[in-house]
């Protein structure tokens, strides 16, 4: 039948189109790595590769989570502070001997989930703009965790199963395997499960989705719960790579993770999400941060690399979204 051939053909074209987009981001990442390598070959020493791989996990998982909130057409600014709050509250309970180390994991995930649920309810049920609702929970989570913990730092152990499992196993960055696993899980949730399908539909046209008989409130809440749970999971990886975690650390973590998502090709307007892109976007930020350190050190530039990182990341976010806009314009 003629029509059948038609759709087989177009499916293939679609898949090619999508992988082309991902290839461009992977290519950009590879280019960045090469540039840093040429500027300072030390950048690709074994130790630094492992270090970068290790620090990827929390950012990548935050990015994977917030992709769901962004896909609805919303945003979640609270992910960074919720991640740190989960880490310090669970850490405090552990340091005070109230819970064993293993129990810190479900505590962190639960704290993330609760904040996600609060965000979801505020946005879906009470119709608050996502930016304002999550700006609120961002500030609340930061302040509240500091008050509850009432100590400048909490301590996590080193060299235990906890660190080997989530951070570094005798030189192997075990976080990478987890990131791979969570990426596959999120791809399933976003593309092959109806939760993701409805989340994307909401991002495309919320009212049309509701009038198609879909409980849009429920799925919007689900998106923020996924985002919150991911923040809790990110806290596990964060805690396993640092001995001390302070309430004040992780400033601007959410912005790094969100920037990675936009770089990865997820539309800020919602409806279009690239799960794989979010991870590659996070990897790009990790590479930039580390690479700039090496380059600045080699050429004896006495500028704090953090600030240069901000500048470069900012430029890349604006350009990657700009390119996307220009590309879409040409299509029309």
């Amino acid at each position: 039948m003629k029509t059948k051939a038609l759709y087989d053909n177009s499916r293939l074209k679609n898949i090619l189109e999508k992988s082309k987009q991902n290839l461009i981001i992977v290519g950009a990442l590879a280019a960045l790595v090469l540039i840093f390598y040429f500027l300072n070959p030390n950048f690709l020493n074994e130790y630094n590769i492992i270090s970068m791989a290790q620090s990827l996990a929390p950012y990548a998982i935050l990015g994977l989570g917030v992709t769901f909130a962004i896909a609805t057409g919303g945003i979640d600014l609270s992910i960074g502070t919720v991640c740190i709050a989960s880490s310090v509250v669970a850490g405090k309970l552990y340091t005070d001997g109230l819970i064993p180390l293993w129990a810190a994991i479900p505590v962190m995930i639960a704290i993330g989930g609760v904040f996600g649920l609060i965000n979801g309810l505020l946005i879906a049920k009470l119709k608050l703009p996502a930016f304002i609702a999550t700006l609120g929970t961002m500030m609340v989570s930061r302040g509240l965790s500091a008050i509850i913990v009432n100590a400048p730092n909490v301590f996590y152990p080193t060299g235990t199963w906890f660190n080997r499992l989530f951070s570094n196993n005798n030189g192997f960055p075990s976080g990478l395997l987890w990131v791979l696993g969570f990426t596959l899980l999120c791809m399933y949730l976003m593309y092959k499960n109806k939760t993701g399908r409805y989340i994307l539909s909401i991002g495309s046209n919320e009212e049309a989705t509701r009038l198609s008989g879909i409980n849009t409130e429920k799925y919007k809440i689900a998106a923020y719960v996924i985002t919150g749970v991911a923040a809790g999971i990110a806290a596990v990886f964060w805690s396993s790579s640092f001995v001390t975690v302070a309430s004040a650390t992780g400033n601007g973590m959410e912005l790094d993770a969100i920037a990675g998502v936009y770089i990865g090709g997820t539309s800020a307007a919602g409806g279009v999400a690239s799960v794989g892109g979010s991870v590659i976007g996070a990897a790009m930020l990790v590479v930039i941060r580390s690479g700039l350190n090496f380059v600045l050190a080699k050429y004896n530039v006495s500028v704090n690399s953090t600030y240069v990182t901000y500048v470069l990341t900012g430029v890349i976010v604006v350009f990657s979204v700009l390119i996307d806009i220009l590309k879409n314009k040409k299509k029309k």
């Binding site: 029509t3 059948k4 038609l6 759709y7 053909n9 177009s10 499916r11 074209k13 679609n14 399933y188 593309y191 092959k192 499960n193 109806k194 399908r197 409805y198 994307l200 539909s201 495309s204 046209n205 009212e207 049309a208 989705t209 509701r210 009038l211 198609s212 008989g213 879909i214 409980n215 409806g271 279009v272």
Partner: protein, 503 residues
Amino acid sequence: MKKVILKMTDINKSFSGVKALKGAALELRAGEVHALMGENGAGKSTLMKILTGIYEKDSGQVEVFGEQVEFADVKESQNAGIAIIHQELNMMKDLTVAQNIFIGREYIKYGIFIDDRRMEKEAQKLLDYVGVKIPPSARLGNLTVGKQQMVEIAKAISFNSRLLILDEPTAALTSVEVDELFRIMNELKAKGIGMIYISHRMDEIKRISDRVTVMRDGEYIGTVNTSETDDAEIVKMMVGRVIYGEKKEKSNCPENAPVVLEVQNLNAGDSVKNVSFSLKKGEILGFSGLMGAGRTEVARLIFGADKKESGVIKINGKEVSIDTPEKAVSYGISYISEDRKRYGLLLDKTVTDNSVLASIPEFVKSGFINDRLAEKKACEVNSKLRTKTPSMSQILRNLSGGNQQKVVVARWLIENSDIFIFDEPTRGIDIGAKSEMYELMDELVKKGKSIIMISSELAEIQRCSDRVVVMCEGRITAQLPVEKATQENIMKYAMMRGGEGVA
């Protein structure tokens, strides 16, 4: 004979090899309302964009006020005295009427202060000239759409425009507002301003225009004097064939067919008052009435899109509680809104995505959505509906209005709905697609589905309905068998204010 102020001859325009205009032509005289008609895609917009300098023509002549012109941009056409009133208004809702009229050329006092007082005074003069009573200091957003449109006309006049283009100006107006608009158009006519009037509504064309020019497939078909032509002839010019179906003589639905939907004493604020009716299996129940009569509101209440205050809904004789669209869908009800873009479509998603949206759980196999299966189903249903699309993965934005409408219908066919509520099913789709939509509804009821069809076009109501419900001001004022649903009868009940309701 009045002076000719616009003469466009033999206009050609291609877009990347595709001919959009082939020898198009249009002539407008001073003080004339000239209707420009044609199906969607006939080239009306392209022709107007060439006139206003948005597009550059490939060849042909444009003569405005006796001079050969070649506008490079909108500004130049504006300076030459041409203004266009768009279908969607382009004004700032939070600014006042005067601020909107003078935006971009504000009067300044002492070099730095905006002189609102002077702008309001000047705006008042313009509004008086146009003949509308709107305070120039009113916030635009507080005005009705109709009044806003009149402000836009006043704004156009303030540019000394002698040639106005009105692109479907009545699409969002109530009938009272349409009367007001036509009164103003007549005043402008008397002042010698020429107007090009683009609309699909035959009754309005008959009322307001002096001549009609018809386009088809980018070509000039002909120009006729409105008073010397009838609807059928214009339609024939537009489509190249006669298509409007005849009025239905009698109901196709058997007398004893079972009732599938029963609504009793439905209430919601001022917009729906004590509405009761029933729908039979295999019946097309037409809902007629003027704009704002409460028909869409009734549909949205039945579908659970809005909350009702009181009332009982029975499906197949059993009382049901429907407070969300989710529940309505689970009872086999579907609602196809007149505003497809807002309430129906995921414009940036594919034909498949849009077609299967309401029935995704059906395509989940062992935890995974089977997209192949979904696409197959979407393909099957859309080919039956004769949806014209290059592929199932075409983005919906790129389809024409009629085909977009079919995709929404496909969604509910795949979901296997029993009761279809069509709200203005043919709004904004061209005449060829219209008759296809009618045939589609006929096929649906033949298969035992039931349809509620809301329509503002009397001809459409008469062509499709087995029975007609007429509403006015939130109440049902009549339920007429199709034999008694004459235009006069329907209009009588549609304007029966005060609600001497007939059950």
